[in-house]
């Protein structure tokens, strides 16, 4: 912070040293923000070129002193009148707005303000604060492999020692001139021992069989449970930066969530709405964003332009439901008014790529209905349909919403059942047909 202040001071002193008065610089600041900042930045090319010391650039290019003023007021007139203006016209295909109302003094004050800026001052202050938020994910080492290798080494040593013992015995017998009697093999020795202690061996055998069967059954229960499934992605997308720090709504990128059964992956077009300007501050970020540019066919050099040479990004699907389940995001988000975090957890804190959040994590999120069954299993759906209330008390039969209609039919068909539903003071999804098999399986 201190360093930034010092830089600012140097910048201001430098500005005072130049001819411009502080009054006009302040005016230039306000004018730049109101008129120019939408397209121009001081030190970076954007929709328009960077403007730092642009007057010197024009002078060096041999432009008449009045040419740049004419350009700001109406660039088309300038192009017709001045050769240098004509040469810079092709910098970008986007046409600059015209500002006929600006006076020469105002334009001078804008340029004075721009030239008084110091690179890496104000803007970079925010930049460093941002980069710290995105940190690398700690690599989790796989310990199982170590155990497997150690077990193999152990077994090898035991067998080798046994073998050596045998060989030595044979060699010793050979040396003594006796014929070597290999005696019983290990298998026969074990058989004899087992028969001697058959009571205990039998009991141990029974315990082992029961253990194996129980493990097998527990193993079968984990089939089709995908909690913690986190496939690799072509671009390690940090939700925490986008939805957390930058406050982008889930529904902006996953925009078909209110219109379709699939929440949708954003097209690269949506990425480019921001990333046309944001190209990353750390080399790691730049590498990831370069992958978006490649997909969009965007060449970021100079003003930047689309080449038309696009390439799909092949993401890995995270939440995979079996084909025999019909799930609609639209139904849940629009009609059911379910928040994204009920099923996907708090993505504003998710630094790693997306994963199927285990139910324990989901239960920690404020405002979520607490569930017990594993995420994305049928038990989990059923449980939520039982808990989630459509309304407290009776529904309004005058409205024409989805649930109001179901409710109206229920009231007309079976009044007694309806009164039973209202005993606990709320109407849940399951009471309005959320437990019907054909709701999801058809």
């Amino acid at each position: 912070m201190f360093r930034i202040n010092v830089k600012w001071c140097i910048g201001l002193i430098a500005a005072f040293a130049l001819t411009a008065s502080p009054m006009s610089i302040a005016q230039g600041d306000a004018l730049f923000k109101a008129k120019c900042a939408t397209c121009h930045q001081v030190f970076k090319d954007g929709t328009g070129p960077k403007l730092y010391e642009v007057r010197k650039k024009w002078e060096a290019g041999g432009a008449e002193p009045e040419a740049i003023f004419q350009w700001v007021k109406n660039w088309q007139v300038a192009v017709a009148k001045y050769d240098y203006a004509k040469s810079v016209e092709s910098w970008s295909p986007s046409a600059m707005s015209t500002f006929p109302d600006l006076t020469d003094d105002q334009i001078t004050s804008i340029f004075d303000w721009i030239d008084s800026q110091v690179e890496g001052g104000d803007a970079a202050g925010g930049a460093t604060a941002q980069t710290t938020a995105v940190e690398g994910v700690e690599e989790e080492s796989n310990l199982t492999w170590v155990w497997v290798i150690m077990a193999i080494i152990f077994v090898t040593i035991v067998l080798a020692i046994g073998g050596v013992r045998r060989q030595l015995k044979a060699a010793a017998a050979d040396a003594d001139g006796e014929s070597f009697d290999p005696g019983m093999s290990y298998g026969e020795e074990f058989k004899q021992w087992a028969w001697k202690n058959r009571k205990y061996v039998g009991l141990a055998g029974l315990v082992i069989v029961i253990c194996v069967v129980v493990t097998l059954f527990l193993g079968l229960y984990t089939i089709g449970v995908v909690e913690d499934y986190q496939p690799s992605q072509p671009i390690a997308f940090p939700h925490a930066t986008h939805a957390g720090i930058n406050g982008i709504d889930c529904k902006y990128c996953h925009n078909s969530v209110t219109k379709s059964r699939s929440a949708g992956l954003p097209t690269v077009n949506v990425c480019m709405n921001c990333h046309k300007q944001i190209n990353g501050r750390t080399p790691e970020q730049q590498e990831k964003i370069a992958a978006i540019y490649e997909a969009a066919g965007w060449n970021p050099e100079g003003a930047g332009k689309y080449t038309g040479d696009t390439k799909p990004i092949v993401w890995n699907k995270v939440h995979v439901l079996p084909d025999h389940v019909y799930f609609s995001h639209k139904q849940h988000v629009v009609v059911g008014n379910v928040d994204c975090k009920q099923c996907h957890g708090d993505m504003t804190k998710m630094v790693e790529t997306a994963k199927v959040q285990p139910v324990e994590e989901l239960n920690k999120v404020d405002g979520n209905i607490k569930l017990t069954k594993a995420t994305l299993t049928m038990g989990w759906c059923i449980e939520c349909h039982k808990e989630k209330e459509v309304s407290l008390g009776a529904l309004d039969t005058k409205k024409d919403g989805y649930y109001d209609e179901i409710h109206k039919r229920l009231m007309n068909n079976d009044k007694k059942l309806y009164e039973k539903y209202l005993e606990d003071g709320k109407v849940t999804v399951s009471e309005l047909g959320g437990w019907e098999c054909a709701k999801c399986h058809y």
Partner: protein, 239 residues
């Protein structure tokens, strides 16, 4: 000789053990075992599924291709029988400028040589505000705005959304400085993009964009409501 055979056995045994245990390790990109794999992946086309690999067969023609097909050109979605709505939802008549090919990547669209942004100044908002629908339009507008615009333009429309506050993005205008734009130009800018802003036509319907145009006017004039229209020259005037 016998000893050598013995050690070969050990090596073979440990190799098999390593292979068997190794195959237990889960593939990170596979969700794991399923009870009935063909019930998980049926031949019926689903979104976001790569059909280049189906039933253990590789099909290079459809690998890395989007499973959903593009509707035939000229297809118009069905929006009921209300003629006003249908007219509003017909494809946008104004084309993007040829320069949008390079600046906004519109390579597959019909493009115009003319400056249709200027021509769009004549377009009127077909979503007329009345005393009955105004509240509903502003309410929907607010929801749409907070989802699609507020992260840059700010909840108050002053160009200071969380994207700008975090220092990630610069150059978002304050709507208060854009009163010289007509409704049609606002629509054109949202639909095709303007300057740094990208096209939002693909993610919003035309009705939603016109709703947003009404809501943006509310930032420029707190009294904006039924019976008012914004002209290209100054601010809201009574009709």
């Amino acid at each position: 000789m016998k000893m050598k055979l013995y050690s070969t056995k050990i090596v073979a045994l440990s190799a098999i053990t390593v292979f068997l245990l190794g195959s237990c390790g889960a593939d990170k990109d596979s969700p794991g075992y399923e009870f009935m794999p063909d019930m998980y992946r049926s031949p019926a086309i689903e979104p976001y599924v790569d059909y280049g690999h189906l039933k253990e067969r590789e099909n290079m023609d459809s690998k890395y291709h989007i499973s959903a097909l593009v509707p035939p050109s000229g297809t118009v979605p069905y929006y009921g029988t209300d003629s006003a709505t249908v007219m509003m939802m017909l494809p946008y008549s104004r084309l993007a400028n040829v320069s949008f090919r390079e600046t906004h990547g519109l390579y597959n669209s019909n493009l115009s040589m003319e400056n249709e942004y200027e021509l769009a100044a004549a377009d009127r908002n077909p979503l007329t505000l009345t005393a009955e629908n105004a509240d509903a339009i502003f309410k929907t507008g607010k929801e749409l705005y907070n989802t699609n615009c507020a992260h840059c333009h700010g909840e108050k429309g002053n160009g200071e959304g969380p994207m700008v506050a975090s220092g990630a993005y610069v150059g978002v205008p304050d709507y208060a400085n854009l009163t010289n734009l007509s409704d049609g130009q606002l629509f054109y800018s949202i639909y095709y993009g303007k300057g740094s802003m990208g096209a939002h036509g693909p993610i919003l319907t035309k009705k939603e964009i016109w709703t947003l145009v009404h809501y943006v006017r509310k930032f420029q004039n707190a009294d904006y409501g039924p019976g008012m229209t914004m002209t290209a020259d100054t601010t809201a005037v009574e009709m």
